[in-house]
């Protein structure tokens, strides 16, 4: 079973067993530019990505104002 990283409307599949930091590098997402949550809880990037995970990535960069 694979794990998924979800950023906005995109889904990336990664192999379980690596750290979140390595998974982010693998899918070319700059770790500094996202916050990761699993089951609604924020997680740090040393966490191991587990089989069946659906990790939601929240983009942090904003460049405008309403």
């Amino acid at each position: 079973m694979i794990a998924k990283l979800i950023l906005r409307d995109k889904e990336y599949e990664v192999k379980p067993g690596m750290t979140l930091l390595d998974a982010l590098k693998k899918i070319n997402v700059t770790p500094e530019s996202v916050i990761a949550t699993r089951d609604g809880e924020m997680i740090t990037d040393d966490e191991i990505v587990r089989s069946g995970d659906a990790i939601k990535l929240i983009a942090v960069i904003s460049g405008g104002g309403a």
């Binding site: 700059t30 530019s33 904003s62 104002g65």
Partner: protein, 313 residues
Amino acid sequence: MKCRKCGNKASIHMRQHKLALCKEHYLDWIPEQTERFIKKYQMFARDEKILVAVSGGKDSLSLWDILARLGYQADGLYLALGIDEGINYSHESQRLSQKFADEHNLKLHVVDIEKEYGKNIPQLAVISHRGDGRPCAVCGLAKRHEMNRIARDLGYDALATGHNLDDEAAVLFGNTLNWLSEYILRQSPVLPASSDGLSRKVKPLCRFYEREMTAYAILRGIEYIYEECPFATGSQAILYKETLNQLETARPGAKLTFFLNFLEAKKSGNLFVEKNVEMQRLHSCPRCGQPTSAPELCSFCRMIQKAETISTM
């Protein structure tokens, strides 16, 4: 990774500080640090009235939340810019700002640009031909003008904005790439009030990374507008932020060092070899009374005058 303070599971790791914290201790740490920065840069005192510029985004709502938690007298100002672009952007951001104010029993002033001046921001951008097809230049000009006007007219002691370290570092990076020395010298956590009519402007979040402010908003359960301003996509500011984040990933602390060393160099007077440009004398705009660099209508009033001329044609 464990929280440095209690040993429980950490929610965030801040590489640049070599510090990991759990939710509870992170939500204490952010206001403590904000208070430290307010004092360090002498932004404002407890008995002063603060106007927080609120956009419905994570930074400004978090700033308002922090100042309220710290017990400061902080009211909000929301500027309705009239940006729709098929996603109701301004409407949604106003709804979230008002919701936050209502839930926290805080006072929110709302100024609708179209009601005040007859045109919204995208319309003013088309009429004024500023900004190469993007309304961002007009938006920035209108925001600066209106925030200063409201802060001055309603008697606030300081205008607080939610600029974070990534915002400041991106501006500094852009100005340095172009060696815009006057802009570089003007950048500061505090811009003092002037006798010409400029309100004091303060940036209490200027030492927090954007990622830290996002974490704060999430952990505090603040509902903010997640979607980017539709006109900001592909902007220079975002390009600079992404570039700096790549540098930060390779060298943790690079953004913080870039900004703090700049502030130190500026304070020491050694930023540029030549002694610095004397502050230009400001004039009063004959139409709105706000300070402007030339002895004629300010840029904002020139734009509105043009819009009025076109409306009557």
